[in-house]
């Protein structure tokens, strides 16, 4: 791998200062399962790496009914996958975590890293967006909080400045009667980048859907919340016809590209199928929640 300068600060302020000093030539090293691959492939060519894993207070999963779920930036994908409370209350997120890479990757990869890398086909953002997650960002001027759905600006691009670090993800407590699902479509059952990813969260009150969130990954430059589909689902009793219509709208809204993994046409066809299946499964879960 290319020769680099290496830093391992122990406080967030130290880290932020380093980022500020080196600007475009520095990369943050968290899990490393994406960054180091990109450096080895010469897609990214930093001269400095800032390892943030020694910073105290960035690991941790806490859940309180009043406050919801708080995920520290350095929490690994594996910790999220195996967390009982996440499996119970944030099932889409748990599914996304399980679908990411392999056990070895998940033991190192961080939830925050997957978010900040902002790959259009990333698994972690869609279910978090479907859960109305927000992220806490720390920089030289202090903290700010942003809704995750406003975090992404393009493929690999976010609202983060070069001297800011994402330090926490906050997810509200789910409403009773909520069913959540993340479906990842790929050619193999593991070690895949999604050709299409769909996260759906539906809340039912007396058989009527009072809240719908539908988020698609891998079909646009960023993960997208599909308001047009949510509008069709909200405020009504969802039946097979509604689901079919909703899925067709999703297909119209998606704007995937063709790449080595899949053609755009195929991604559109899968968008319809995956959306249909995700809504159907979330609905079933909501009924029993």
């Amino acid at each position: 791998m290319r020769r680099i300068e290496y830093f391992a600060p122990e406080t967030v302020d130290e880290a932020v200062a380093l980022l500020g000093r080196y600007g475009e030539s520095v990369s943050i090293l968290a899990g490393g399962t994406d960054l180091l691959v990109e450096i080895k492939h010469k897609v990214r060519t930093p001269d400095q790496l800032v390892n943030i894993k020694k910073i105290a207070g960035l690991v941790g999963l806490t859940y309180k009914q009043s406050a919801g779920l708080r995920i520290g930036a350095l929490t690994t994908v594996r910790a999220v996958e195996t967390s009982q409370v996440i499996q119970e209350k944030y099932a889409g997120l748990a599914q996304a975590a399980q679908a990411l890479g392999s056990v070895q990757i998940r033991n190192r990869a961080t939830v925050a890293g997957n978010i900040c890398r902002a790959s259009p086909s990333a698994d972690i953002p869609p279910p978090l967006m479907a859960d109305d997650a927000t992220v806490r960002i720390y920089g030289p001027d202090g903290e700010r909080v942003i809704a995750l759905e406003n975090f992404f600006t393009g493929p690999g691009q976010t609202v983060l400045n070069t001297d800011e670090i994402l330090i926490e993800i906050i997810v509200p407590n789910p409403l009773p009667g909520t069913g959540k699902v993340y479906l990842k479509h790929g050619r193999r059952k593991a070690m895949e980048l999604a050709t299409v990813g769909a996260a759906v969260s539906l809340t039912l009150e007396e058989d009527i859907c009072i809240r719908a969130r539908v988020v698609l990954g891998a079909v646009a430059p960023t993960p997208i919340r599909v308001h047009e589909v949510e509008d069709v689902l909200q405020g009504i009793f969802i039946d097979e016809k509604v689901i079919g219509d909703a899925a067709r709208i999703a297909m119209k809204v998606a704007r995937p590209i063709s790449d080595v993994r899949s053609s755009a046409e195929y991604r559109l066809q899968i968008t319809e199928i995956i959306t249909k299946r995700a809504i159907t499964q979330a609905l079933a879960l909501a009924k029993t929640a």
Binding site: M1, R187, R188, E192, L193, V260, S263, E265, Y266, I273
Partner: protein
């Protein structure tokens, strides 16, 4: 003697693999594990263009970079034309490679090499080498490359690698005119890569006495030695090739690559050992692939279902160099005349240069593609005639007394046997009762494929293997075998054969292999030959040693040697209580051996054939196009399983590759730039543990291989030769439309369904 009834002490058992303990404890040494004092690291600079003339190369900045010790280009390497492919030399080899040339012919072609004190510095040095290219137009398709006005990649018109192969039997035109039904279609196969887990590796050192010592991952230590000797002009006895363990080959390590030459030259130039390890990306770019093949196939069949006419045009995409283009095309064509009987045939074969990565030897060697086309069209004919696909095959496959490609007559109807056995196991004739009505989005289908394969490369290559066995003073032996073990378990089988023949324990055989200074000559591990030919040599050498041992025993015991029996490490005198252990016979006073006892053999057999049939059950999701293989029944008739675990392992591994080739594996080359778009393990999709179906293996031992050790025949390539068509036919059965191109991707499934509705 019925082979089935014979009971053996060691053959047919499942001992721990030779080298197995080393592999599970991490102490097995692969070529990349060789660490030598002062070792440098070598890297190759690769062309970013698919077709270009090199105008100039400036290496001055690279040479000046700190830590760089040598740089090689076309200007300072020997200019010797070679084929990069195996000895013994066969007619079909085409010599079209230089170590470095003045032209590059595909994205990935090597143009220069450096040796430096670290891999990072070698990498930096590559970027400092400045190459000026004059771009030339490129072609990727066979049809485009064959046009007379196509850019010439080498010097042949129409980019032909070699003169076309033409085979004619009987009177094809007459036969077609008599056919009740004629079917013709075009079939095509994709571009899978070997993906051996151990990247290509070479370590070279000019050591004691100025001899060249090479550690390399190769299927063919003697071939590497021979070609290095020729191209670098070093006598054979001054080159030593060592291959202790290797991490898979599958045909991809059957040729030399640029890096063996370059590594040796860098070691010479710097006076230090040099290690060259491919990155995974380089394994895809600088390695080999399978030949994509287009096959036009036409059959004429009688009303009763007998094939009477066959026309086939087999055109393989060779990529930028010839490598095994001639070989696989010949095998594809000749094997295409066989398998299913047909008296009237016209077969043509061509191999075409294109500016794609180089295609080479790969398990199944041209027959994979031919059998896919043949067996798919057999399915189409059975549907058209309203005949059961298995019955239709039984009717037409080669059987007892029929002539194989080698000119031998088959001793049994092994193909029919495999078909019947597999059909019974999977419940073939009752399958559609299990099918729920063809509605719903998941459809189920069943398919069959059949194959036969020779145990060895006879008659295209003169078969030869050699073995030497030395008796030690304690009754144990050293077996020196030329056989290469790529992970197949060949050495284990050799040890079992030697132990069985000598009547000693498996543990008493120490296998010595993979060092050209020590072991006798062998032509390499390919063509499913190691058990039959290598094992045959071992058995004969063991028999030779045994006879010398019994002669000595007879002397010592004062009896005639023909009343001596050897088993369990003990020599018995028949009809008497007299006996002695081997140790007691061979050891003299003071614990030294009485005399040198060595058995040796040169074995030059003809060939035997193994048979197999695969049955596949699949589910197709008609909404997403995804294909799930539910189960596979694989029946293989191989004469005798020397090590059943080894045989099963070969079948299971071959199935993983075959499933991959049929459904998900394809190297995708960009038609504008010639770049390989998926040269990594995420986007080149091999089946993982989660993707494998349920597998049932049935090994039949019904037709002993004449000349095979204890009747054993080969198994190496058989498992990949029937699975593609079994799955393809099953998918076609599931969705009701025919698939003639592999890999069958979900996109193709949806396209086909959409077109058909």
């Amino acid at each position: 003697m019925s082979v089935k009834a014979a009971k053996h002490a060691v053959v047919g058992t499942r001992p721990w693999r030779v080298g197995g303990v080393d592999k599970v404890t991490g102490s097995a040494r692969y070529s990349v594990d060789v660490m030598l004092p002062g070792m440098l690291y070598g890297k190759i600079k690769r062309s970013p263009h698919p077709h270009a003339r090199i105008v100039s190369i400036d290496t001055s900045k690279a040479l000046a970079h700190e830590g760089v010790k040598a740089v090689l280009t076309v200007d300072n390497v020997p200019r010797v034309l070679h084929a990069g492919a195996p000895a013994p030399r066969i007619e079909s080899l085409v010599k079209d490679q230089y170590i470095f040339d003045e032209k590059v012919r595909y994205v990935g072609d090597g143009v220069a090499a450096v040796a430096a004190v670290s891999e990072e510095i070698a990498d930096e040095a590559l970027d400092l080498i400045e190459v000026e290219y004059e771009l030339l137009p490129a072609v990727y398709d066979i049809e485009e490359a064959m046009r007379p006005d196509a850019p010439r990649i080498h010097d042949s018109e129409g980019n032909l690698v070699m003169p076309p192969i033409e085979i004619e039997q009987g009177d094809v035109e007459q036969a077609f005119s008599e056919a009740h039904l004629i079917l013709e279609n075009t079939y095509s196969t994709g571009r899978p890569a070997h993906c051996y887990l151990e990247p290509n590796i070479c370590v070279c050192q000019f050591g004691q006495g100025g001899n060249l010592k090479v550690w390399t991952s190769t299927q063919n230590v003697f071939m590497v030695r021979g070609i290095l000797s020729e191209v670098l002009d070093i006598p054979v006895n001054k080159i030593q090739i060592i291959m202790e363990h290797m991490g898979g080959g599958f045909g991809g390590k059957q040729d030399l690559y640029q890096h063996e030459f370059v590594c040796a030259l860098l070691a010479k130039k710097t006076g230090r050992p040099v290690k060259m390890e491919y990155t995974r990306e380089e394994c895809f770019l600088g390695g080999k692939t399978r030949h994509p093949v287009k096959i036009y196939l036409k059959h004429g069949v009688r009303k009763d279902g007998t094939l009477i006419a066959r026309e086939m045009r087999y055109t393989s995409n060779s990529g930028a160099y010839a490598s095994h283009g001639p070989g696989i095309t010949a095998v594809g064509c000749y094997d295409g005349t066989s398998l299913f009987k047909c008296d009237n045939q016209k077969i043509e074969g061509r191999s075409i240069y294109t500016n794609n990565p180089v295609a080479g030897a790969f398990r199944g060697y041209g027959a994979v593609q031919a059998f896919f086309a043949l067996d798919t069209q057999m399915d189409e004919m059975s549907v058209a005639l309203g005949l059961d696909p298995v019955d239709f095959r039984i009717k037409n496959v080669l059987g007892e007394g029929d002539l194989a490609v080698s000119g031998h007559r088959l001793a049994t109807s092994g193909l029919e046997s495999c078909l019947r056995r597999g059909a019974a196991e999977i419940g073939w004739y009752e399958r559609h009762a299990k099918q729920s009505a063809k509605e719903g989005t998941i459809r189920r289908g069943w398919g069959v494929g059949v194959q036969m394969h020779p145990s060895g490369a006879y008659p295209s290559i003169k078969e030869q293997s050699n073995a030497i066995i030395k008796m030690n003073e304690d009754g144990t032996v050293h077996l020196l075998t030329g056989v290469s073990d790529l992970g197949t378990g060949a050495q284990t089988a050799m040890a079992q054969i030697a132990a069985e023949e000598l009547g000693i324990a498996y543990e008493d055989v120490q296998v010595v292999a993979g060092d050209t200074d020590v072991v006798p000559f062998d032509i390499g591990a390919y063509s499913s030959r190691t058990t039959f030919v290598g094992g045959g040599a071992v058995q004969e050498a063991a028999a030779h040693l045994k006879s010398r041992l019994l002669t000595l025993a007879a002397e010592k015991l004062g009896v005639e040697s023909d009343i001596l029996d050897l088993r369990g490490g003990t020599i018995f005198v028949k009809g008497s209580a007299q006996k002695a252990t081997i140790k007691e016979i061979v050891q003299g006073a003071g614990g030294a051996p009485l005399r040198s006892l060595v058995g040796e053999a040169t074995y030059e057999p003809e060939v035997a054939y193994s048979y197999g049939a695969h049955f596949a059950e699949v589910e197709v999701d008609t909404e997403t196009g995804h294909i799930n293989v539910i189960q596979i029944v694989a029946v293989h008739e191989i004469g005798r399983a020397i090590n059943p675990a080894g045989v099963e392992g070969q079948i299971e591994g071959g199935l993983q590759q075959g499933i991959g080739h049929t459904l998900t594996e394809d190297l995708i080359i960009d038609r504008e730039t010639g770049k390989t778009l998926n040269a990594n393990f995420v986007d080149y999709k091999m089946p993982l543990a989660l993707d494998m179906p349920k597998i049932k293996i049935i090994i039949l031992e019904e037709e002993p291989g004449v000349g095979g050790p204890f009747g054993a025949k080969g198994i190496g390539e058989d498992p990949i030769l029937a699975i593609g068509q079994a799955i393809g036919n099953a998918v076609s059965d599931a969705v009701g439309f025919r698939f003639r191109n592999i890999p069958i991707t979900p996109e193709k499934v949806l396209e086909t369904l959409a077109a058909g509705l």
